[in-house]
């Protein structure tokens, strides 16, 4: 279950991270954001940046060429 979803397929680094960050900041602590990311650069970079911001990645699912992450807002 997630409170909100952001589909970042086709969105380049670091805009994908910035969009995730803004979305998370608009949410309440503890809420879950579903983030859909391409493989390659986005999956290499966005999760570590989310972590560095203090949010928690609670679930990761690979679906073909992309990843579905559940991020808990800090």
């Amino acid at each position: 279950m997630s409170d909100s979803t952001i589909d970042l397929r086709g969105v380049m680094c670091p805009i994908n991270f910035v969009k995730t960050k803004l979305k998370l900041e608009a949410m309440n602590p503890g809420e879950i954001l579903e983030v859909i990311l391409d493989s390659g650069d986005p999956i290499q970079n966005v999760p570590k940046s989310i972590k560095e911001e203090g949010h928690k990645i609670v679930e990761v699912k690979k679906e073909g060429d992309f990843f579905r992450l559940k991020v808990q807002r800090s």
């Binding site: 493989s39 390659g40 999956i43 290499q44 999760p47 570590k48 972590k51 560095e52 928690k56 990645i57 609670v58 679930e59 990761v60 699912k61 690979k62 990843f67």
Partner: protein, 317 residues
């Protein structure tokens, strides 16, 4: 009247400096001190000593004033080794420039056959990829070894990670940050992010569990897997430096060779000291350490360095 001295401690040449600026200046002596003759008659570049290319804004403001006052053309240049150079300075004003720089605690760099100002990238203090405190190390090396005489120039640099922005492969002696990643099965959820995050194909995902299968031979010890793992199943076991020797740039570039794959911070000063000792004992005058190593043999150097490099087993081992 001479009321101030800059002593070049390496050659014991004393450059007389006085505050009236009317003193005769010996050009041969000045060569060792970071004053570089320009094409233009009587004009020199004054190269400042900025280890790691870092300056406090306070100092930079003061340097700006001095540069503005003494540069006949009102220009500075950022050198390729991260030092700030004040261009178009009249040699008759050297003493005043140096005195004013001294007052704000700014030293002039060195040239010639000696240990040069170390260069360094941003490192772990603020660069997200950084694994080692390159700026702190550069400062330490500058304080400890700057100006030490060697058969030819001796350049060092510090990079914070395998991206190697400070080009350790081109240095007489270069230090590149590494981290040894270690994995704990209990916290791993098998999400496969680490194998995606690894740019070296050093992590494969188990087709059934998604858990990582690590190949230390392919690993560059960059730590991307540690940063990417959502559950801290990958952790840093230890941080250190890959040490490279014998690189240089110029007309005949040479690539440095890796001589130690995991040197901890605290052994860096000893490694540099021993390397300088080896170089001074084995290098011919005017010969870079890379050429000395080719002539004398890398084994000779490695044997000499054994007390420092031993027990610094490869990461991932």
């Amino acid at each position: 009247m001479t009321d101030h001295f800059i002593e070049d401690k390496t050659t014991k040449v004393t450059v007389a400096v006085d505050n009236t600026g009317a003193q005769k200046v010996d050009f041969n002596d000045l060569k060792s001190g970071g004053f570089i003759k320009q094409r233009q008659k009587d004009l020199f570049t004054v190269r400042l000593r900025c280890p790691g290319g870092r300056l406090s804004t306070e100092k930079l403001l003061e340097i700006s004033k001095i540069a503005h006052k003494y540069s006949k053309k009102g220009v500075v240049h950022f050198s390729f080794r991260q030092s700030l150079e004040i261009l178009y300075v009249d040699y008759k004003e050297f003493s005043n420039v140096v005195a004013e720089l001294e007052k704000i605690g700014q030293k002039v760099a060195s040239c010639g056959p000696r240990v040069r100002v170390p260069t360094a990238c941003g490192g772990c203090e603020y660069n997200p990829n950084g694994l080692t405190d390159t700026q702190k190390m550069a400062d330490m090396v500058d304080k400890t070894f700057f100006g030490t005489p060697t058969p030819h120039k001796f350049k060092t640099s510090f990079s914070g990670c395998p991206i190697d922005c400070a080009r350790t492969k081109e240095m007489d002696m270069g230090f590149q940050g590494v981290v040894d990643p270690t994995w704990e099965e209990e916290s791993c959820t098998g999400c496969t992010i680490c194998s995606e995050a690894c740019k070296e194909d050093a992590i494969a995902s188990d087709p059934d569990t998604g858990k990582p299968i690590f190949d230390p031979v392919k690993c560059l010890f960059c730590g991307d897997c540690i940063r990417a793992c959502p559950t801290e199943a990958w952790k840093p076991k230890r941080y250190g430096h890959i040490v490279r020797i014998g690189g240089k740039h110029g007309r005949h570039p040479m690539e440095a060779v890796e001589v130690c794959s995991f040197l901890p911070d605290e052994k860096v000063p000893e490694a540099i000291k021993m390397t300088i000792d080896w170089y001074n004992a084995n290098g011919k005058r005017g010969e870079r350490i890379g050429n000395a190593l080719k002539r004398v043999g890398l084994d000779n150097y490695l044997k000499y360095m054994e007390p420092v490099f031993q027990n610094t087993a490869k990461a991932g081992a």
